[in-house]
Symmetry: C2
Subunit: 498 residues, 2 copies
């Protein structure tokens, strides 16, 4: 739902400011492949443009079945022997395998869908995938899905293409799963991943990674060992459901004799958290696993290397919760569950006022989850709490979410990332858990119990917003352009294949 590139500001919490990455040099081992990457550069960029021009958006039922069909063609072209559509109760998934005759097999997780867009807000149309100069970065491709997630995914596919075209044998076999509902919370990811033949194929992998653009313009790369879980729920108070307030908007003067569903919602919300909004007070709420010493050490280290003041400015936030010092605020970020109000909407929402007593109001919440908590457990506790406190009439619409995910630092999937980054002159920041969320639980949880993570050089931003971009030609020494991103995957595959 919220892959890591979406929460780049969170990843950057852990950022080193002075670290620099070297452009991949012409290493003897990779010279042929790198030459091929350069040769296929223009075609690869064009292939990314064509993909962006074909959006699949689950919330709008747009681009199905073209989306999975197009992905299958892309996979077949870079060497996947098998690539099939998997139907689900929602949008279809894709399952593909590439048998390279290698000793090890790597799992790959992709999404082929993108977030909705509002064309009017973009400076370059979101489906043009135009190349645009961006100060401080270079030439970037602007388009919906450019960084979330088609750009990094296409760079990974171009790595496979380059290895093949250079006449090399891929050093690992691949098992790939892709979904078309990531942006609506991956409601059917289990129907793809836990299908018997898919589960069996994934069980043989050393873990599952998602291609990602992990460089920030200051040169920092974060290696995250997991992510919080999340549930998104809309709480709706309606007079007709409550059986007390009005069933339609009525004149506000009637408040003197008619109950208000809006006040009902406000009072329900008030029972969920402490008066400062920061401590969850939902009855019998799942308790988080306390932070471990190893996690605390990572945070202490990251806090030292991060410019707190710069982060405050970027977030336009003068103080952390309870005026905590930075390392304790970061500890909270990593280890504490949250109840956040994403939005409130009810009654008259235009300028000024309008004298109505609204018949309904809605609060949109997201609740982030940490280890020892499950999406189902959190939802059940919320519903039971509302019921117990006299708010059982309030509709709780669960619109998406999943459990937290964790991978041990010593997993080969992670250690190989660290070795590739260090060999490239990058000292990555190890981070216990992204505060954002992605559906890694389906890989790291039972029955698969695999490692899962993100990897990839390159940079982009603007996921979910307007002018989303991915850097194609970098003029910033701290970030790789297209070819460097492609080569990062080549090196990762070879590192894992050793």
């Amino acid at each position: 739902m919220k892959n890591l590139s979406v929460v780049v500001t969170v990843a950057q919490v852990t950022a080193l400011l002075s670290c620099t990455s070297a452009t991949f040099g012409a290493s003897a081992d990779f010279a042929d492949i790198e030459a091929q990457v350069v040769r296929q550069h223009d075609d690869g960029v064009r292939r990314l443009q064509e993909w962006i021009q074909l959006p699949s958006i689950a919330a709008e039922n747009l681009g199905y079945p073209e989306g999975p069909q197009h992905l299958i063609a892309l996979l077949q072209a870079v060497g996947f022997q098998k690539a099939t559509v998997l139907e689900t109760d929602g949008k279809p998934g894709v399952f593909a395998t590439l048998d390279a005759g290698a000793a090890r097999t790597l799992g790959v997780y992709m999404m082929y869908d993108v977030k909705q867009f509002d064309t009017a807000a973009w400076s370059s149309p979101p489906l043009d995938a135009a190349l645009v100069d961006k100060p401080g970065l270079g030439k970037v491709m602007v388009g919906r899905g450019a960084v979330n997630q088609k750009g990094p995914e296409m760079a990974f596919l171009e790595a496979l293409r380059a290895v093949k075209a250079a006449g090399k044998k891929l050093p690992v076999n691949l098992v790939l799963v892709a979904e078309g509902e990531e942006e609506i919370g991956s409601p059917h990811i289990g129907q793809i991943v836990l299908r018997p033949e898919v589960q069996a194929a994934l069980a043989n992998t050393l873990g599952v990674f998602m291609p990602s653009a992990s460089q920030s313009p200051d040169g920092v790369v974060t290696v995250s060992l997991g992510a919080k879980g999340v549930i998104e729920v809309q709480l709706t108070a309606r007079g007709e459901q409550w059986g007390r307030g009005p069933g339609k908007d009525i004149h506000s003067s009637l408040k003197a004799m008619v109950d208000s569903p809006v006040w009902h919602l406000v009072h329900a919300l008030n029972t969920l958290v402490s008066a400062d909004g920061n401590t969850i007070t939902i009855d019998d709420y799942p308790q988080p696993r306390p932070i471990s010493a190893a996690e605390k050490d990572m945070i202490t280290e990251a806090a030292k290397r991060q410019d707190e003041e710069q982060l405050r400015q970027r977030l336009s936030t003068p103080y952390w919760i309870d005026d905590l010092p930075f390392d304790e605020a970061l500890t909270r970020l990593v280890s504490e569950p949250t109840v956040n109000i994403e939005g409130l909407v009810g009654g008259y929402t235009g300028p000024g006022g309008k004298t109505v007593l609204p018949h309904m109001a809605q609060a949109k919440l997201d609740l982030r989850l940490v280890p020892n908590m499950t999406a189902g457990g959190a939802l059940a506790a919320l519903e039971a709490h509302l019921d117990r406190h006299g708010f059982g009439d309030i509709e709780v619409n669960f619109s998406g979410g999943y459990d937290p995910t964790s991978t041990p630092a010593d997993a080969e999937l992670i250690q190989a990332q660290i070795r590739v980054l260090k060999a490239s002159g990058i000292d990555p920041v190890l981070w216990p858990r992204s505060a954002g969320s992605y559906p890694g639980y389906v890989f790291t949880g039972a029955p698969l119990n695999l490692a899962s993570g993100h990897f990839g050089l390159g940079h982009g931003s603007g996921a979910h917003g307007p002018d989303e971009y991915f850097v194609i030609e970098s003029n910033n020494p701290n970030i790789e352009g297209w070819d460097g991103a492609v080569m990062s995957y080549v090196r990762y595959l070879y590192e894992l294949g050793q």
Copy 2:
């Protein structure tokens, strides 16, 4: 701000179901005038159409100075010897006098502005003022301002025209004030009414009435002795103002380390009313005057004559507050101040969810006031309360409002209404106080201390909404059409002039 026709459902709380009104017969006294009313019918309807086609909307700065100029021309045409624009700090007012050489002088209050409209929602364009057949009513004029308030006001002006054209002397002198900001809460009404020459002229009147369409299709006419006051305020919590939350929307995962202005607003709201939303808990809030025995008697009588079940259905409200019996719910409607949430808006308000931590949220409130309370006193108490409870950062934007207004039942302005209605076969319901609001306080309060009320037969509905209408040709025996409405003002003027 909210004139009585807007709260027709409230007026109908007091409705008699079986009461019927007779069409004005050709009384000997009024035969000449009535014949003239029939003769000028088509021209009068056209004059109303032309007025509707020239909207003045303060919130949109539309139709100034054309609005007051047009009204002045209308007033001059029906015999006002003086009619001038009065500048204010906002939109101009109009002051006009008609000296008929009569013994008594009547004050008239008008508004020349109308509510905003959304043309797309209308079945007939709001500025076309088209005549449309409406089942159960007859031929109605559909247009913005048709009933609120141009239709009744034009009918009153046509009454003056008819008396004049019939060669009669008007039985009362007139002092008229009009404003162009009624729909934004009459912020400068005092600058019009309390101007020395206006105040002096009004001081000689027997009270001030506003033309109004007071008939409901079931034949009921309510005579209201006042109206609640109101203040409308928007409470806005902003991170930048608070100095704690973010100054822009940030990723929701950051809730773990950043305070939320939305939660801050929710907790502030929670301190304003009791857990059921119905008892005001603002510290040191002005106390209402207890209901009098006379008021209680009126309510008891009205409750008996009203079909409670029909009202519940119209309001789609199965229970009144605290499951009160009808007369007690009506007592609350008349006598209790309220704190109502008109709307909530903050963060993401579209379908489903979006993972943001919003930097601001707003609650739009209206607070109705009863005698012994003032708009200024209520606002000051609200601000002091928020400050004392740790919410002093929350912006309180007062967007309009005024004090309550009351007129004694024995005022000649009221008694003359009752006599005219009874002479027409209508047994009016006397009602202590409309739960809606209009700026009558400027007439009934110091220094003028006059009587103030609404009067007029005819029917319309849809004020503030789409398809606002006023009945021109009635086929419903319970309501008057255009000519009947015009004649109701003729009779009222003669009754007052006796």
